[in-house]
Amino acid sequence: MVLMDAPQSKSRDLDKLLLRSGNLVGPGFFPGTDLRDDIREYVRVLVVGAGGLGCELLKDLALSGFRNLDVIDMDRIEVTNLNRQFLFRLEDVGKPKAEVAAKRVMERVSGVEIKPHFSRIEDKELDFYNDFNIIALGLDSIEARRYINGVACGFLEYDEDDNPRSETIKPMVDGGTEGFKGHARVIVPGVTPCFECTIWLFPPQVKFPLCTLAETPRNAAHCIEYAHLIKWHEVHGGKSFDPDEPEHMKWVYDEAIKRAELFGIPGVTYSLTQGVVKNIIPAIASTNAIISAACALETLKIVSGCSKTLANYLTYNGGEGLHTKVTEFESDKECLVCGPGILIELDTSITLQKFIDMLEEHPKLLLSKASVKHGKDSLYMQAPPVLEEMHRPNLSKPLYDLMGRVEKDTVHVFGTALKNEEKQSSLTKLRVVFKEVDGVADMDTATLRVNSKRKTPL
């Protein structure tokens, strides 16, 4: 084996992994300086979130041979971040996380370029996400994960035989922590389960019955939620509650104290009030470091093939002893998000308006206020008003024409879906097939057919 670099190279340690051949490696591993240099020059990684996991991920990736990184986060730095988000200092409080994190890592690791995006993930164009080779998620909200997962899976295309086209696969690594516990997973859409395939892994949120809050409070949390959810609206009417406004929090705390005294309930504290109202998840530096390191390592392995890949879900529990476990979940072939898509058969005469109306009644979609996108073209947009007006004339045109008179193709629909009695933003993939184009007429017109054997529990 001939190695090009002198021992005194910045990539001294990483070179052992990337320049030397190995026995326990991925299928497409071609060790050598080309591999190392390609990772430096061409591979682009997006880090979503610049919080506890995001800060670690940026550092880990910058020290794992990646030089082109982007980071997106809509939040500003708070004092409570400082016990773990090591790129931030007290004087940074109030500044955008993404910007400070990018700056700090670039200061310390020369050669790395990190582009910060102080923005909501939903505000970026879909194309923005398509520019990256891999997306690393450092999030702590299920909603945000679902969104990014939907976007990444949206790029996925299937061939005639429902096999994913490899060039359209946008891999993701995802981490999450709570206290001493965490998980790291690899999502290769179309190959391993996506976030939506295994959404059941996430526990339901704790909610209190309204009657308990109103009539039979028993503990401090009930008193706090009474003040937060019932009393606030009674007293302040239309004024919405802002958990980041100290005066609002103080008001809720005082009201909770009053209620607790009335019922003789102990335990209402300011700290608990914040915890309950903001649904604070306890977090520590070490767990974030562990989980992010696993995610960054998998990113490197997916990109380079320098070792086997995690298949596909790692759980970590360091509270009682130390337990790590790898579980290989299977993807749901009928997954709305990463599966081949919902097959919809349409008449060529169906207008876009009619199509949008149908989405609302479709049992698997229940999608209202849908915007429709075909490839890069928006066919209809609900907002902003300027764009809505611009696309309005399309509504009366047949979808068949708008889609370029092809026999079948994929469209993405974005709107508000009703899931578990809650309205949620939803991005879904549909495979539209036009009837009669290939000569086979179906009498059952104007009905949406769902290619699904499984019933949906509602």
Binding site: R12, F86, I284, G318
Partner: protein, 730 residues
Amino acid sequence: MIWSLTMSKTKYDRQLRIWGEVGQAALEEASICLLNCGPTGSEALKNLVLGGVGSITIVDGSKVELGDLGNNFMVDERSVGQSKAKSTCAFLQELNDSVKAKFVEESPDTLIMTSPSFFSQFTLVIATQLVEDSMVKLDRICREADVKVVFVRSYGLVGLVRVSVQEHTIIDSKPDHFLDDLRLNNPWPELNSFVETIDLNVSDHVAHKHIPYVVILVKMADEWTKSHSGNLPSTREEKKEFKDFVKSKMISMDEDNYKEAIEAAFKVFAPRGISSEIQQICNDSCAEPSSSSSDFWVMVAALKEFVSNEGDGEAPLEGSIPDMTSSTEHYINLQKIFLAKAEADFLVMEKRVKNILKRIDRDPSSISKPTIKSFCKNARKLKVCRYRTVEDEFSNPSVTEIQKCLADEDYSGAMGFYVLLRAVDRFTANYNKFPGQFDGGMDEDISRLKTTALSLLADLGCNGSVLPDDLINEMCRFGASELHVVAAFVGGIASQEVIKLVTKQFVPMLGTYIFNGIDHKSQRLLVFLKPEAFQGAIKAINERILSVLDDSGSGRVDMGMHVLNDKRKRVAFEALMWKPVKEGSSQITKTDAEKYIKLLRAIYMLEAHGEEEEITFNQFLDMLDDPDWGFGIMSTVLRLESNDRNRHGSQVCSVCRYPIIGSWFKEVKARFSLCSQCYSEGKVPPPFKQEEDYRFREHGSEAEAMKPKCVCFSVQSHKKPIATRKKQRN
């Protein structure tokens, strides 16, 4: 203003919610020494500095090289050629100015050799990237000085973490899941008299649906035992019958309190008295107090007295109750009754602690009230962890365990790397470099490492064992590289262990953790543990074996725990002892041993024979291992169990993580699955809360459960979510 918190309280808010102010204070008092500040060490320390550890002292004699810039965030271009300890220290100080940060420019190996007394000033030493010889020496020094050590190593894509301390006792072990201390089947007089004031047959519907389940179950357990000659439900049929009995008292379908009572019925079946684990702690020789006893053991001695006197077999009451459907008034009254009993138990314990302290010539008030209170509250969750010395681990290995691990699919990788991590140190001693450390000569290094590893195995007494070539090749490929991500992973684990050791909360890891960054099939090698370390696992297995012995029809034949041979035998023996045939005896009857082995044989399609006499544990071990007797079946059991797991692999219990055999309980909303064992113990997987209202559907088999079903639930309009709360971004 009450609500204006101090800056430090705000800064540490997210961790204070985990270990509280007591834990934080312990962290702020701790003095930590780091040996070698490569990425592994500096990442471990970073996590502790952020959390506000008291002081850090970094020991490293090397200068920053260009190569360090590629794996260590704590050094940058400007620090090349400078002291690594100094550069790292400066960056770490930047992270938190309330931490006292110092550095010593000296090689840790030299310091260990020349200044052993240096280490006695610290609470804990994080020893990174040490070779075997230094590990052994440091461990000896720190044992003597009563300083805790966490060893960490990153080596290519693998790593190692090992805790070393003579004894670590924990009061507040914060287990994920723990059965509430409700005493439903063993109520004290005040609880009984409160229960008597409530009429289950009250005609007012609103009152009826606001009777807390604790009251319902205490009443019904009492009624049951009266009609069953003093016995609680024990068989599966009886348990079901009991639940139906509770259900029969419902007057309408929307009574959440009754639904909770049915779900919590298993708490009535829970055995009375202290667990075998706590019993074992009470039986420990340290529980005989002397003037040198630690506070923990003095309190254990008091607990032991309490259990056999006032406690009547039970530990002091915990005193808290979970939330449950109830009128405010009933709930508050119940809370007061539990608190009062806990307070009374505490006062008794306090008195006993004082008397013991007097007896051993210590100041009777030298253990504070809050400490005794915390001890009482956690008396059922006490933990004792003891660790072998590194020297003992290295020089007296358990040959059979190493061999078995090397042959076991799940453990061979971890054990292989464990052996290789020791082999590379031998290699270095011989060749003055690590295998593959420099480019060129790779093939020679591979064959030399192989020879070294095999001779190490031979020296350990494992002559027949081999290591896969793949592992040896990879080890040479790694060439002693310290990859940042591997360093951050194992360094992160090390800092978690430090926090657990310093705060004396949660439970530190036992054994040697081998990180496998190739496929993440990392393992803790339990080999090097003393049997006490197995208390939890032993209990779990005891229960499983008993469920087989009881012919309860649980349908569960696997013992489903990754516990290695010796322990498993001990477990089997204890399970038989636990069976109340001969109370207090340290021997089991040969008939029982026979029966157990017959069961094993029946389970694994083998057969048995035997006669009537009493045997000791050692004899029992001999029986199990003696192939002529036909009892050398443990390895078969292990193998068959792993086959079992493969066969039944598709549905896994969300709690014990083992394949579900027999009945499968699926939670209808959260969709987690439980095996019948975990279901009957009322467990829920993390991070679900035990107190939550769960609804399970029981499936006879997997196939049945896969059938699509249209499920209709009773409408619970008042349970409709009242708000959608987004999780706070971290």
